[in-house]
Amino acid sequence: MAESAYLPGVTIQNADVLDSPRHSALVRVTHWIHTLSFLALVLSGIAILLAHPRLYWGETGAREGPSLIDLPLPFVLDIPIRGPGRYLHFLSAWVCVLTGLLYVLSGLFTRHFRKNLVPSKTDLGWKPIMRVVSNHMRLKRPTEAESQSYNVLQRLTYLAVVFVLFPLVIWTGLAMSPAITSVFPAIVTVFGGQQSARTIHFFVSVALVLFLVIHIAMVRLAGFKNRMRAMITGHAAARKEPS
């Protein structure tokens, strides 16, 4: 009795795994909204940065004083890209943050992070991590079995992007607002000042762009069409139509 009840359970579970999409609808929709809003944020961020491509540490900084880093970029003040850039930056920031909240809350609620992104304890050792790193160095394509789930490097990277880089870029963005810091002064004083927050905002953005570049390179390596199809339709390979 117990056995017969158990077996159908297994079959159904397997059928479920085969039939269930690689990415849930919510992950797919938020992924593409994020893609659009992130690209808008990067473009408008560059438009804003070009007005003053100099970075400082502490509370203040100006052209007439010392800087932390002079980026090898021109000062673009006469071409009117900054105003519209600012409007676009804040609109896409709202889209990005609200979608991100939806993604994180649903990921916690459906245990998506725990099931698919938190690495198992055995994978967190030096050896398994180095094995994945060496596979990457040799540009070795994952086996079919391996590509069914994320390896330890992917898991750690995605977790870092979702729970470290994005929160930090939002935080440092808010820390530049004189209205927000009038309510929560600590969000800027922990960084040592408004200009420090601006500098960190810049470097976290660079890290996020680097992630995007590597992410696209990895998707290409793993099979661009298949991965794109998985993130659009939910299913990796085209499903056979019933004849």
């Binding site: 203040t60 804040f90 309510v183 601006r198």
Partner: protein, 253 residues
């Protein structure tokens, strides 16, 4: 089976849409009622502006104070942005050391008035050392001395219908504050900077100082202040000249 699912889906989607639309409707009515919609709410970027303005107005509704600093934090270099007005009236007043300059205050007030620099300096002053950031990216800390705008507004008697205070300098630009920032205790009509009369390049004889917003809201070279219930009939009706160049009216960022 598939029929039942699609019907269930239809009902859920319908309910969600109805809830969403009525939610937005309620939000719009509340936002209008509590003055949470900025004058530059139109256009493709309007939704972002409205969200930012509404969220920050709710967060700062208790008159939160901008951070203040010590004398030792005052910046050694305070850059000057833009040039003083080249208009005739300004140049003439400047040549005479602003002796004949007067600040006009009119609009929805009980007692339209004008004040000389000496009048303003007789009122109880307030001094604060605050951070001012330019939207370009640079920033400085300076000490500002002036009369709180709220003091002048109380003197002239502002109507309860007032929604904006509009600032006209001696050039073509103009800007406005909503009432929360107009009544804010740190909002100054500043005539002094770092212990001296405000230098020409920084807005002599009188500039606005709004520490909870970016530098461009701190209008220099003031000539007239008008209290109004609408900014629709000024310029392009977006609350300031800034949105006409693509910069948001509300700059608390």
């Amino acid at each position: 089976m598939s029929n039942r699912i699609s019907r269930r889906k239809l009902i859920t989607t319908g309910l969600a849409t109805a809830a969403g639309v009525s939610g937005l409707g309620v939000a719009a009515v509340l936002a209008e009622r509590y003055n949470l919609i900025p004058p530059d709410h139109g256009g493709i970027f309007g939704a972002g502006e409205t969200l930012t303005y509404a969220a920050q107005r709710i967060l700062t509704s208790h008159h939160s104070l901008a951070r203040e600093f010590n004398r030792s934090d005052i910046s050694k270099v305070i850059p000057i942005n833009g040039k003083p007005p080249e208009t005739d009236p300004y140049q003439r007043l400047h040549a005479k050391g602003f002796q004949d300059w007067r600040l006009i205050v009119d609009g929805l007030v009980a007692r339209p008035s004008s004040f000389s620099l000496a009048d303003l300096k007789r009122f109880p002053p307030r001094t604060h050392i605050t951070h001012q950031a330019c939207e370009e990216g640079w920033s400085f800390i300076a000490e500002c001395t002036g009369v709180p705008l709220s003091y002048v507004l109380n003197l002239v008697g502002v109507s309860t219908k007032a929604k904006f205070v509009v600032f006209f300098p001696f050039d073509d630009s103009w800007d406005s504050l909503d009432m929360p920032d107009a009544w804010h205790p740190q909002t100054l009509l500043a005539y002094g900077m770092n212990g001296q009369d405000i230098p020409t390049g920084h807005g002599a004889p009188l500039r606005l100082r709004v520490p909870r917003q970016l530098g461009y809201k701190s209008v220099k070279y003031l000539s007239r202040i008008t209290v109004t219930d609408t900014v629709k009939n000024i310029g392009k009706g977006m609350g300031s000249i800034a949105p006409e160049y693509g910069y948001s009216w509300y700059a608390g960022i």
